[in-house]
Structures are given as C-alpha cells and as structure tokens.
C-alpha cells in the first residue's frame, strides 16, 4: 500500500546544496547588527553628522544621486566608467601577468629577468609614481588603466609563480615520460595544475585593483565612483562618501562572487586531489 511506504532520510558524502543555511542567517544577523548600531549611533547623536551620516540620509542621498546623478553625470555613468577602467586593466592583467607568471615559474631564466622588476615595483605606492605615469601617458584613461593594471599585475604574477613551484614533481615528470615536450608540459600540465592558484591570484588582483581605483581617478577624472568619493570628501559630503563606499563594497563583492563562481565551474577538482 502506498501509504505504508516510509520515506527514509538519505545521507550523501557530497551533500546537495541548501539555499538558506545557518551560516546565511548568521551573516544576515551580522549585517543587521551593524546597521542597527549605525542607526542607533546616529539617532542618539553620538557623532556629528559630518562624521557619520544617519542611514536615512545616506539612503536619501543615494536615491537623489540615482535620479539626478552626481556633478553632471548619472550614477550609472560613474559606475560604468569605473568598471570599464577596472575591467580593461583586468583583461590586460590576464593577458600578460598569467603567461609571464607561469613562464617565470617554469623557466628560471625568464624569472631572473622579471621577478626582480616586479619585486621592485610591487611595494611602490601608486601615489608615489602616479605623477610619472601621468607624465608618460597623459591624463586620459590610459594612465588610469595603467595604474590599475600595475596594481593587478603583481598579485597574479606572484600567484602564478608560486602555483608553478607547488606543482607535484610527478605531474611534470609523468608528462615527459608520456611524450610531452617542454611546450606541451606547459600547456597541458603546468597551466591546469596552476588554475587554483591562478584564480586566487586573479581574485586578489581584482580586489587590489579596486583598491587603487580612487588613486587612479584622483587625477583629472570627471566621472567614476572613485572620483565621486574623492570629490565628495573635498566638500565634506559624508553622505555621498558613504553612498560611494557602499557601491564600491557591494560591486566589489559581486565581482568577487563572479570570479568565485567561475572558479568553481572551471576547477571542480580543487581540494580533491
């Protein structure tokens, strides 16, 4: 009889995904606590409005900027211009830092040329050499993209080197004994074996480039989220600063989630070797 059948709860070592876990609830609570403290702090006027604008005002400013734009450009324009610069830089990073890093890890001669250069410029603050970049590349988008590019290059480059160094020796010797030449080992073994590190590098690089956004938009920008925040800070518009910071934080998280998603799609074997 159908109703005598007992449904048995089944366990699987690889659990199916649940959409709302305890962890999600904890995260939501954390965010809620922060918003409530923020609201309370401003409600009880613990700080002046210049220091911490109340959530309501920030929201209002957001709506205003959304409908009217900020200083002659729509919010979408600001956001789009920034993202465009970021992505342009990011694409160049992928096209150059990945091969440069993998080759440097693979061939000690190439590393001998590139690593010291990267090691030298890597700790340099963008603000220290930005003037030089403007001198060489002008005040247009190219110097801005260059700055973001330089910020992103080093993390990817170094992650690739360290990825190559960590490859199991047997993966490589195995390939040789199966008939691969140096080039094939590079393409069919080094590259896939480094993918996990590569993605970590790309995610670091994206965050890092984002971090340089305000510096990049400091000079002669008329649009961009970074510029908006900087401009607002000149006029002590802390509500606009907050709006800008929220937009950067949230778009930053979104880009990162996108990369994470791609990572999971491309490297299903991660952590299962």
């Amino acid at each position: 009889m159908a109703d005598s059948q007992v449904k048995i709860k089944r366990n699987f070592p690889c659990k199916p995904k649940i959409w709302l876990t305890t962890e999600h609830l904890i995260t939501l609570s954390t965010v809620a606590v922060i918003f409530i403290s923020w609201y309370a702090a401003t409600e009880w006027k613990l700080f002046s409005e210049v220091i911490i604008p109340p959530p309501g005002k920030v929201y209002k400013t957001f709506i205003d900027i959304l409908s009217e734009g900020y200083k002659g450009a729509a919010l979408s324009t600001h956001l789009f211009d920034s993202i465009e610069r970021l992505l342009a830089a990011f694409v160049f990073v992928c096209l150059t830092a990945v091969p440069a890093g993998l080759l440097s890890g693979y061939n000690s001669k190439i590393r001998a040329v590139l690593e010291p250069l990267v090691g030298f410029y890597r700790p340099l603050p963008p603000l220290a050499y930005y003037t030089m970049l403007v001198i060489w590349m002008g005040i247009g988008n190219s110097s801005k993209i260059m700055l973001l590019y330089l910020a992103g290059f080093a993390p990817v480059y170094l992650a690739c080197i360290s990825g190559v160094m960590k490859i199991k020796r047997d993966y490589i010797s195995g390939a040789y004994t199966l008939g691969a030449n140096k080039y094939q080992v590079f393409v069919y073994v080094v590259l896939p074996a480094c993918l996990p590190d590569l993605f970590t590098g790309l995610r670091t690089a994206l965050g890092f480039s984002y971090t340089t956004l305000v510096a990049a938009e400091m000079v002669a920008a008329e649009t961009g989220i970074g510029w908006m925040v900087l401009d607002a800070s000149k006029f002590l518009l802390s509500d606009v600063i907050f709006v800008g910071i929220f937009i950067m934080g949230i778009t930053g998280i979104m880009l990162d989630v996108l990369l994470k998603f791609m990572e999971n799609k491309i490297i299903p074997w991660k952590g299962k070797e």
Binding site: S173, G174, L178, A180, P192, L195, W269
Partner: protein, 264 residues
C-alpha cells in the same frame, strides 16, 4: 621460440655502469656500484626489501634523477632526462585531476599528436584491458586505489614505449584483478616486444612474469643475485596457476625467499 628471443636479446638498451647515488652530499649512498644492463625485449623483475633503493634505481633509468657516480645510458646516449620511449608507471600514480579517466589515458597519444579518431579506439581497447570501461568519464578522485593504479597502467601502456619501467604497478590490486593484469602485461610484452623493468614485492609475480629476476639488498642498495627464468612462457601457454605448483618454480621461489631473509 625461447632461444630465438634469447639471441635477439644480446643488444643492450639500458646500461648502468658502476652507478652510485646519494640524495644529498651529506647523506650515505642509497645505491652503490650498480652494474645493470637491460637487453632488448627482456622482462626484468626487481625484488628487494622495503627501502633498499628499487624506486631510486627506476628513477635513475627514467631520467628523473642522475647518478652521483657512474653512468646511465639509454641505447648509446647518456640518460639526460625523461623520454616517452622510457614509459613509467609510478608507485603512486600521478593522474591529472583535471582530466577524466579517458582523457588521462589519452594524454600520451595527444602529446604525440595522434588524431582523435586513432586514439578513441585505442582508449576503448585499453579501458577494456584494465576493466574500467564503465568508468571512462569518471574523475580520478572518484576512483578506488586499485582503479587509479589501473588507469596509470593503461596510460603508460597505450604509448607502447620501447622500455617500460613499472614500480609496483599491481601493488593495490586484489588477487583476481592482479592475475588479469599480469596476463595482459605478459601478452602485450610477447606481442610488442617492449623491454620491461618491473619492481614488485611479490616473488610469485616476479617469477611468473620475468625473464630475469634481480634481488637487491639494502645498506647500501645493491644487486646481490640474478636469476634467469622462463616460467612466463609456460604461463602464457598453459594455465597460470599450474606453474605455481611446478617444482622448478617452488624451488626458485624458496631460494629467493631464503636469500631475502638471510640478506638482512
């Protein structure tokens, strides 16, 4: 037929002369004074206590490490690195986790620019040989220990290298699968005439497969005895089980076990 093969064998394909190896300048020699030649079409099995340097010896021939002293040659040239003509089955199979079973097996063919069509049939053939047809699209981390080992075997065999270097390839296999694999390897060897160096810890296996059995001792690792055998030809023709009971076999087996025991 046996004598024919013996004659062809005269040509050396691998030659180690007076090889010693230490893993670092301040540690003792792991191998000392190894003189070893592999003739064409020979099937050499290596026995020896754990840690005596069997894997190390194989790594030298594979070209992964170089002798600290002495020379290692492949044909007439010094061994300068790995090469597909010296195929290796590792003690711990380094399958590529980003490739599925069939892709792992196809790896060598792809490197050697076989067309996809040519490869497909070969792959199916070898998957069948190692009994993993059903696991074609599985990823290595979804396989059991013995299944991984069989994928690694297929991956190397499909390349049909001149020399096959195998480091305890059947170590994780149950009795039955092991017998099947032994039969398969023997068949391939008889048909394709590869030269095989086969490390094992199973004396029966060594005797039933090899044309020559080397026994190593440790401290430092060295070859202490060599046996010429031909049980593998009988095993190929008759039932394998039968050779285990023949007197010659039992005698040699006893002698080797005794040798290993007393060598310590």
């Amino acid at each position: 037929m046996i004598s024919v093969r013996q004659q062809e064998n005269l040509e050396n394909i691998i030659r180690l002369s007076n090889v010693s190896l230490a893993y670092s300048a301040d540690s003792a020699n792991v191998l000392e004074n190894i003189d070893l030649s592999l003739n064409k079409k020979e099937f050499v099995c290596v026995l020896g206590p754990s840690g005596c340097g069997k894997s190390t010896l194989l790594k030298i021939i594979a070209g992964f490490i170089f002798p600290s002293q002495g020379t290692a040659q492949f044909g007439t040239k010094a061994i300068a690195g790995p090469d597909w003509q010296r195929g290796v089955v590792f003690q711990q199979p380094p399958l590529y986790p980003w490739l599925n079973v069939a892709e792992n097996i196809r790896f060598g063919l792809k490197m050697r620019h076989f067309s996809k069509k040519q490869s497909e049939d070969l792959i199916t053939d070898y998957l069948e040989k190692v009994g993993l047809l059903a696991f074609r699209n599985h990823k290595p981390y979804e396989l059991s220990g013995g299944m991984k080992q069989r994928v690694a075997i297929a991956r190397t065999l499909i390349n049909n290298p001149l020399v096959l270097l195998m480091d305890e390839p059947f170590g994780a296999l149950d009795a039955l699968t092991r017998e099947q694999m032994q039969a398969m390897l023997r068949k391939i060897w008889l048909e394709l005439n590869n030269t095989i160096l086969f490390i094992t810890h199973d004396v029966d296996e060594a005797l039933s497969l090899g044309t020559r059995v080397l026994v190593m001792a440790k401290g430092p690792g060295r070859i202490i005895r060599e046996y010429k055998t031909s049980f593998t030809y009988s095993a190929a023709q008759e039932n394998t089980e039968s050779i285990y009971h023949c007197d010659d076999f039992l005698h040699m087996r006893g002698e080797i076990l005794h040798l290993i025991r007393s060598a310590v």
